[in-house]
Symmetry: C2
Subunit: 164 residues, 2 copies
């Protein structure tokens, strides 16, 4: 259905939670309560985010997790990639792919472009944006030469937090 998994959704929620107070150390139990999720589930997501370097942890009593980078340096794309692997709408666009269609597939090149467009849409949104209640897309796209296709026919957009 063209969607991220629920675990990834949780990941974005949790990372947003961290970003709201970047210095604060939080443990799985506290986050679970805040997010209305079970501790094991939250714990699982945190471990994954840790392994991918988005969080750092402090073990032992009084320990917990916090962001490994500044909120402005973490995009929604980073989180998705950490939890689901590289964003590739079609299998053929994965590095490891040996899609048997490739030799006679006329569209694989175009899929790469499409992936790019989607990745960019996600890479431009950082945790700083997510912390805002709602941010407004404000973007400008420029049409170019004849053999080029504008990816957006309307007035394009760019993510811009409302109160920035």
């Amino acid at each position: 259905m063209f969607r991220i998994t629920r675990l990834t959704d949780y990941g974005v929620m949790l990372m947003t939670e961290f970003a709201s107070e970047p210095e604060r150390l939080r443990n799985a139990a506290g986050l679970a309560e805040a997010a209305h999720l079970s501790v094991p589930t939250v714990s699982k997501v945190l471990k994954l985010l840790l392994k991918e370097g988005l969080l750092e942890s402090i073990r032992g009593a009084g320990g917990g997790y916090r962001l490994a980078r500044k909120p402005e340096d973490v995009s929604v794309q980073d989180i998705i990639v950490a939890l689901e692997g590289p964003i590739a709408l079609t299998e053929c666009n994965l590095i490891s792919s040996d899609c048997e269609q490739k030799p006679h597939c006329s569209v694989s090149g175009n899929w790469r472009r499409i992936n790019h467009a989607v990745r960019r849409a996600l890479a431009d949104i950082t945790l700083v944006d997510m912390v805002q209640p709602h941010f407004e897309p404000v973007i400008q796209l420029q049409k170019q030469q004849s053999n080029t296709i504008p990816i957006s026919s309307e007035t394009g957009e760019r993510w811009l937090p409302t109160n920035m």
Copy 2:
């Protein structure tokens, strides 16, 4: 893994094939051969595309399928929606959703924006674009502060023409 299903991938391939010769009537067997897929599988996808109004069919001997609309009026998004339902990265953004997180979810509003950006990226690519060997979306995203970033900078992917 953030990807479309294989059936949807087939759907895009098939629709692109139709778009390469919009007038021509094609049957499932011929398309299957050209796409190196089994007839039942191709047939299944065609039926779905038909039901969603992207193809029209002519029954009986000598029958087949062809595009219901002009290639320029069919976007990649249309095909994805036809085969996978509405594009909603998170459950909470589906009309029918009654996500129990919603009342205390701080990011659902932002997800709506993110969905919007992704949908736009996909809605702006039509079958006309897909028929091109590979098209260059030369969009310039304007960062608030300054510099422009072309969406596609790398080069060198090959396109293998199909002779179907």
